[in-house]
Amino acid sequence: MSRSRRIKLQVFRGVVFLIMGLFFLGPIAAMFEFSTRGNSVIAPRTLEAWTNIIKTPDLVDAIIASLELAAITSIAMLVLLLPTMVWVRLRLPALYRVVEFLCLLPLTIPAIALVVGLFPISRWMRINLSDSILMLSFFYLVLVLPYSYRALDAGLAALDIRTLSEAARSLGAGWATVMTRVIVPNMSSAILNASLLAVAVVLGEYTFANLLTYENLQVAIAYVGLVSAGTSIAVAVASLLFAFVLLMVLSFVARPRQRGARAEKTLAPVQLVPPAAGTR
């Protein structure tokens, strides 16, 4: 590469990174600024908006509800998806494509469209089963299917589960033992990956909760924002930081251990999942 072209390239890269850095970090910095603002831009900094979070019962309830939903959804996802995927790989390989298709189907159904069909089901469940906000986890499980499926599928692809399970079975292990003591420990990073994605999707979810009239974290933030912008922006920053930490952990977990190019190939598609429409 010629010297002048290399300089031009470095200038181009510098300009691009500068502009993108400002565009992406600016609004987040502005949120911090806003959440610590007094009565005006020049007034002394105050943490009042932050302390107001715990003084707003609606917000506290919503935060707790969203955390519970995140936990329930990710556990239910693992319980539903992992045994099914292992079973299909071992016993029903003919169903592999069907399961994959069904799991990726939510990608082509916008959340706002799906919720129209879920509404009657949700109403039935509220009347006949429970009115609790935790019922949302059934619907959130649908939203996280594609992301969790891809993460788990990448993890399973890197394992020879047939050999592993046959070895364990021949040593007298039952299926439960095979799952919990052989397969799960061997794909812990894929499981963590799938769970963190599920948590991130659930914590950011607005569409389902809003239209099915439940008050989760995002709905509460929007609602409180109408009354007190500072407090709701403070919660927004907090939830954002939490999601950032989660997803940053994820991106470092998702990075393959130094096991060579093969592992890199199988893990790469996890990042290529189109992001969650439900959080938009």
């Binding site: 890269r13 691009v16 992406f24 949120m31 990608l107 706002i112 069909g117 809003n210």
Partner: protein, 299 residues
Amino acid sequence: MSLAGTPAVNTAARSARSGRLPLTWLGVAPFFVFVGLFLLLPTGIIAAGSLGDKDGHLTLSNFTELQQAYIIKSFLNSAVISIASALVGALAGALSAYAVATGNPRGTLRRIVTSASGVFAQFGGVTLVFAFLAAIGPVGLLRVLLQDHGVDIFPNGVWLYDMSGLTLIYMYFQIPLMVLVFLPALDGIRPQWREATESLGGTTWHYWRYVAGPLLAPAFLGCTLLLFANAFSAYATAAVLLTQGGVILPLQISNLFTSETGQAQPGLAKALALAMIAIVTIVMLLYTLLQRRTSRWLR
């Protein structure tokens, strides 16, 4: 011995298998029940409901009602916002991805950019709107700072609550998504191809026009389609930002379907939802086809 043993084992296995067949299927039953109840049933409800009127009679009127002016208008608004944010997002994202791809493939910068893109691409809804309001809203930091220096970014009214504001905010998740999906295609470009072009007397223009351009075109187009689908199905961001309902298609659906005003038209909402699903499905299919074409030379 193995020859003698085989038929016996086979018949034993076969009888055991046929006897256990229902049990084998039982293993996947919970998954199929769940997907049936919470994914296929709602889709069926949408499809069936779009064909019924308020009393449940079979009718196509919901689809003819889609031609009403206000629905066409929100469809066009949705299309404009999605196309604009997909095109600008794809260009900006591709440039960013190129800036990343030309750096050290194992460097810290690249790792930070891809991790951050993964995070920002998931970002949306309430939090995102608040971030932009805090930055360039009527009392936002940048707005106030610029105003102090005599620059008004809203000379003709606050455009942030408008379609242009929405498009700008969509950039925040469109650009990172483009970086994520386009980077693998750029990584597939070998430096040797450029050297080969140069050794044959080609210029930078020739290289982009005849080598890299045509190779990257399907990937770029595919990723742009993905960005389009992404913006087209976005609801939360617009719902929080725009106080006026029904401006874009997703808002129109929620308008028609919530009965707050007593004007709920569930049949029409379902027809609209079905139309949206159809559009997104077609776009995602094209995206998959183009991705497949790209992956042929990517390895």
